[in-house]
Every structure is written in C-alpha cells, then in structure tokens.
C-alpha cells in the first residue's frame, strides 16, 4: 500500500508529519488529479504548490503566450519564457520542482464545447481565469459534472475566493447570478493589481485543493472570503445555497452550456 521511496519520504516529510495529512493524506495527493484553469497570476502559485505537494496529475489549461507584462506576478514563468506558450512554460517549471508529478499542458481555450470533456478527468478544479464568461462557464460545468472547484478573483489590492462542492454548498451563481455587463467591472489588465495579491489568493485556493483531497480541516464552502491587502483586512461572508439558483437550484434554468461573449479589454497591450 505504501510504496514511497526514501527520496519521496524526505520530499514529503513535512506533509507526512502533519496529523491531518500524514502518510494516508500523501498517498491521496499522489492519486489526485487537479486541473488549473489559467497559467497566470493565480495559476502560477497554484501550479507550483500543487506540483511541490506531489499531486499526482496536474492539468493546466491556457491558450496564451508569456508576455513581459505578466512577469510582475505570474511567477511560474521567467524572462526567458517570453513568447512561449504559457502552459509549456508552466509545465517545465512544475516538472523541475517535482519530477514525480504528471503534468498535462493544455494549450487551448476553455469553451462550452470542450469544457465537459476536459474537466471530467479531474477531481478538483482550481479556477484562476481572468474573465467572467469563463468563470461562469467553469461554475456551470463543474455543477453539472459534480466536480468541486475553487473560485478566485483578484483586483488592485483585493482578492476573493470560495470553494464549491456541487449539490452541497452554494455555487458561484448562488451569489452572482450572471456576468456583469461588459466594462462595468474593471479587470486586472485595466485596473492593475499588486503582484503579491496573486500569490496570496492563488495559495489560498491551492490550500483548499489540498484540504479537499486530504480531507484536512474545513473548506471555504458556503463562505466568500475576501481581503483588502491595502489594510490587510480579511472577511468571511456566510453564503447559502439558493433555491432559485439558475444552475444548482431546485428548478435550474441553465441546463446546457453556452459561450457568453468574451469581453475584450480595449486597454490590453
């Protein structure tokens, strides 16, 4: 049952020592499959910490290339990677941190046509995408497929995250019914973001993924955690599943996935 090499016991010793992870938890991590959506600000720390933790299979999906303006916060990429596919660059860094893990780089854009096929191979989805249509798509697809996920968003000095266990806890649409109208909410590329905020939130999301897999602690379910790092204020707001939620409610009105129009930010690049 336990076939760790001496090297692996050393590598994972700080997990194994934890009462709530232990040998059993580390075995679970090795068998787990996590998909990271977006190899950007949130996906960077997530990809690195998931790989370091020994999560057996890690998919990472992104269709973008590394740009110099990414490097202020997207720490999985380096200066030498400018112009490369983000998922290839991320995969290389992940394999360098831990050759034990199987990394699956997916250089594609998640859309209504491919998301179900992609997520079905994973136990947990970590959403680090940069736009509302994809955030809602990830929510709806995960609810329909019954796959737990972590929502994350950052802006300026602020971050927010919640963990969703479909059928048990409030989903993203229980809180936010539909994407905001284009341009009513600024994105990072318009408004800016303090680089370390991406690390703060991405690592919270990763901790949730590791907790879900190992069963340790209590998840951020039915809770929206938000922080304002300009004053280091952290808040939790209690949420509850909404009976009239269009996707996880009693009579869902969203029963199939469609692509909302992507809002293209005029200021990008």
């Amino acid at each position: 049952m336990i076939d760790f090499t001496t090297e692996q016991l050393n590598r994972y010793s700080r997990h194994i020592l934890l009462k709530d992870v232990g040998v059993e938890g580390q075995v679970k991590l090795g068998r787990a499959r996590v998909l990271v959506v977006g190899a950007g600000g949130l996906g960077s720390p997530a990809a690195l910490y998931l790989a370091a933790a020994g999560v057996g299979t890690i998919g990472i999906v992104d269709n973008d290339q590394v740009d110099i303006s990414n490097l202020q916060r997207q720490i999985v990429h380096g200066t030498k990677d400018i112009g490369r596919s983000k998922v290839e660059s991320a995969a290389e860094a992940m394999r360098a941190i831990n050759p034990d893990v199987e990394v699956r780089p997916l250089a594609t854009m998640l859309c209504a046509d491919n998301i179900m096929e992609i997520i079905k191979d994973y136990d947990f989805i970590l959403d680090g995408c940069d736009n509302f249509p994809t955030k809602f798509l990830v929510n709806d697809a995960c609810v329909m497929a019954g796959i737990p996920f972590s929502h994350g968003g950052i802006l300026r000095f602020d971050g927010q995250t919640m963990t969703v266990i479909p059928g048990e806890s409030a989903c993203y649409r229980c809180v936010f019914r539909q994407p905001p109208p284009p341009d009513s909410v600024p994105t990072c590329s318009q408004a800016g973001v303090l680089g370390a905020i991406a690390g703060m939130l991405g690592t919270i999301q990763t901790a949730e993924a590791l907790k879900y897999i190992t069963g340790a602690g209590r998840l951020l379910t039915d809770t929206l955690l938000s922080f304002d790092a300009s004053n280091m204020d952290f808040r939790k707001v209690a949420l509850r599943r909404q009976d009239d939620c269009p996707v996880c409610g009693a009579r869902p009105t969203i029963t199939e996935l469609t692509d909302a129009e992507q809002t293209v930010c005029a200021l990008k690049k």
């Binding site: 995408c129 994350g152 990072c188 909404q242």
Partner: protein, 70 residues
Amino acid sequence: MEITVNGVAQSIAAAEPDLLSVLKSNKIEDPQMVAVQLNGQFVESSQYAATILSEGDVVEFLYFMGGGSR
C-alpha cells in the same frame, strides 16, 4: 439610524433609506457591480430602490472580481 455595511457600523441620516441610496453613499455607482445581501438574503438588483432599510440591518456588498490570469 445605525446599519452595518460590510462589517462596519454606519450612521444613516435619512429616516427611511433605500438600498440603492446606501449603495450610492458607499461609492458603488453601478449597482450591477455587486451582489447585495441584506440580513443574509440576496436582493435582486431590480429591488434595490424599493428595499427600505431599518435599524440594525446588516448589508453586504459582494464585489465581482474577475482578474486572475492575464
């Protein structure tokens, strides 16, 4: 009257303040930028103007936050 907005006590001068005016006084110009919970229940954006607050109400503005990747 005293209400709590995002965990912080606020004094409101108006006798019968509606949710929309409280949004505006909290610098939320576009009501579609937030989801609003009043005493733990979500309020539809179409109802903001018609929702009158009373003493001790707890209001949460939950902001859309979309950044992450680029």
